[in-house]
């Protein structure tokens, strides 16, 4: 799958499979995932909990938690395979060229150090700044991400800030090095809707300004819809549909995407409590997937052959793919 238009995209994953371990054994958290982003593009990874979207994001940075590991496929950064890079090169890329922000800003900041300590630590390590310069830049960055009275905030500890402020701090740390790519894992899920709105606006502005690429992971269709150029829909470790946001939302091709979109209550059609269209059953437990198409047990259009066909994304039409060969 290609979302990027250039021949060597900024970041590309090809057939990326990540194996994880839970109490039942080893399982594939992501299954032959291919995706790519280029400068200035934003890609949304949409899916329900446990579909493998977060682990995909971590795998892109080589951060699969032990004892899991990447068991197949490759990730290339500016055309270079991660595996060909040394540990120190990878560390240099992380946090400098690629930055990441997480869902829960409360637990992403070390509770025992001040904001200033943590922001300057990044600056000193990643930009080789002296303490004083780092401090000044830190203040500047906080200002840029819309934190009022940055000088004072630098002296505070994470627990003394609100969730929104903490996420701004995380963003400030992420953009400090003017990264080429920002990975955002549910960056607003823990926040109130007005704060979410502020953070997403901020991200959009920064993306615009720095011509930064972004991969945004979310379970919220609205968040992805409003903030991404492309969408990849994940289900049970697979990308089941991808394409330009507009196309995917208007004319979803995969039965799962269709079900998902229909199941969301809309603000506009309020009242009446008319039944929502639902997808039967519950998302599968990781590691307990049916043979063949992982969605077939919940799929209204399932046919017997769904149990045998391998899950592959069709590449036609070239800019909007689906993994379902049955529903066209």
């Amino acid at each position: 799958m290609q979302t990027a238009s250039s021949p060597t995209p900024l970041l590309a994953a090809r057939d990326l499979s990540v194996g994880l371990v839970n109490r039942h054994g080893a399982f594939l958290a992501t299954n032959r995932v291919s995706l790519a982003v280029d400068r200035g593009q934003s890609l949304g990874l949409l899916g329900e909990s446990g579909c493998g979207k977060s682990i995909t994001l971590r795998a892109l940075l080589g951060l699969v938690p032990h004892p899991g590991e990447i068991v197949g496929g490759s990730v290339t950064w500016k055309g270079r395979d991660w595996r060909s890079l040394s540990k120190s090169e990878i560390r240099r890329i992380r946090g400098k060229d690629i930055a990441m922000i997480f869902q829960d800003p409360a637990s992403c900041l070390n509770p025992v150090f001040t904001i200033g300590d943590q922001v300057t630590e990044t600056l000193r390590l990643k930009l080789a700044l002296k303490a004083k310069a780092a401090r000044e830049l830190a203040r500047d960055l906080l200002d840029q991400v819309g934190i009022p009275a940055p000088e004072e905030r630098l002296r505070l500890y994470p627990h003394q800030l609100s969730g929104g402020m903490r996420q701004r701090v995380m963003i400030a740390m992420a953009i400090a090095t003017e990264p080429d790519l920002l990975l955002a894992d549910e960056p607003t899920t823990a926040l109130d809707v007005t704060i979410q709105d502020q953070i997403l606006t901020l991200l959009a502005r920064l993306k615009e300004r720095n011509r930064m690429a972004m991969i945004l992971v979310s379970h919220d269709v609205g968040v992805v819809a409003q903030n991404c150029d492309f969408i990849a829909v994940m289900y049970a470790g697979h990308i089941v549909e991808w394409g330009p946001t507009h196309d995917v939302l208007r004319t979803p091709r995969h039965p799962y995407t269709r079900g998902l979109l229909a199941a969301i209550p809309r603000l506009e059609v309020s009242g009446g409590r008319h039944p929502l269209q639902t997808i039967a059953g519950a998302p599968p437990t990781p590691g307990e997937l049916p043979e063949g198409c992982p969605f077939r047990l919940r799929c209204p259009s399932a046919r017997p052959e769904c149990a045998t066909i391998p899950v592959t994304l069709d590449r036609k039409p070239p800019d909007h793919g689906s993994a379902c060969p049955i529903v066209m």
Binding site: V21, G25, L28, E69, I70, V71, G72, G73
Partner: protein, 292 residues
């Protein structure tokens, strides 16, 4: 093992499944290995009278201080008693002591701690001050007093150790209770108008058990060691009943000329200690609730 899915590097997948088995297996291995060790020693001790061992209390001055041999696998002490037989019989005293003391303390501490954490306020303050008191009160004074009141020997040790060790369970449980009482199923029980005892004992307590049970495994060993220390001061089991700590203490003066008197019972305690801590590790994993 499931075959490696298509598109996957075989080696990596194999490595992962092996790791998964190991990771998953360790808790089980740990649990069963621990149970096996403890059960072996417990079974041996329980069956002691039927094993055809020498009388553990019979002195045989002609055979004193024999080093380990075929006839005396663990050697003999300076009264000529068979150390192996004594070690086996001692298990009856020590294991029972460790387990009874630990679980009686656990039940007391669990209940008191749960009440303290649930009700908070004055009840909590008073209980926690008592806990502070127990923890900072010199243990030996208590033991001596109890020994003086109930007479020397095992009874005093039982009461004395329980009188102290409930406090740690109470503290532990209170902390857990403070965390759990904000959980929604407790709130729900409260909204349903359940009586406080029902909320505390039926709903909260089972969920407070895990931390306590895991801690209890190392506590059993600690209590056996405490009994040993009491024996060292001569306040443990009434002689000639064999007890590991008493055997170790007794061998102290012979450490230079008959190492086995202290060392072999000491190794048995170590073995039991390892056994219980293995069970503790396994339990910690197994009792991990929710499965989130």
């Amino acid at each position: 093992m499931r075959p490696s899915p298509p598109g996957i590097e075989k080696d990596a997948w194999l490595r992962l499944t092996r790791r998964a088995r190991l990771d998953r297996g360790w808790a089980t291995i740990s649990l069963y290995a621990g149970i096996a060790i403890v059960a072996f020693i417990a079974a041996l001790s329980a069956a002691a009278p039927f094993l055809g061992l020498r009388d553990p209390t019979a002195t045989d001055l002609m055979n004193a201080l024999q080093p380990p041999s075929l006839a005396f696998p663990f050697g003999t002490d300076d009264l000529g008693r068979d150390i192996f037989a004594r070690v086996v019989y001692a298990g009856r005293v020590d294991l029972v002591f460790g387990i009874v003391v630990t679980y009686v303390s656990l039940v007391i501490g669990l209940s008191i701690g749960a009440i303290s954490g649930y009700f908070g306020g004055l009840v909590d303050t008073v209980i926690m001050r008592i806990v502070d008191l127990v923890i900072s009160f010199p243990f030996i004074i208590l033991i001596l007093t109890i020994a003086a009141i109930v007479g020397p020997g095992l009874t005093g040790a039982y009461i004395g150790v329980i009188a102290v060790s409930w406090a740690l369970y109470a503290r532990l449980t209170r902390g857990e209770m403070l965390a759990i009482r904000r959980r929604e199923f407790i709130l729900n029980a409260e909204t349903l108008g359940y009586s406080a005892p029902r909320v505390v004992f039926v709903h909260a307590l089972p969920n407070l058990l895990r931390a306590n049970l895991v801690f209890s495994m190392s506590d059993i060993v600690l209590n056996i060691l405490t009994l040993a220390a009491l024996s060292y001061l001569g306040l443990g089991v009434a002689p000639p009943t064999p007890e590991w700590g008493e055997m170790i203490a007794q061998g102290q003066k012979n450490l230079f000329n008959a190492w086995w008197i202290s060392t072999l019972p000491g190794l048995v305690i170590v073995l039991v200690g390892i056994g219980f801590s293995l069970i503790g590790d396994g339990l910690a994993d197994r009792l991990d609730e929710s499965g989130r």
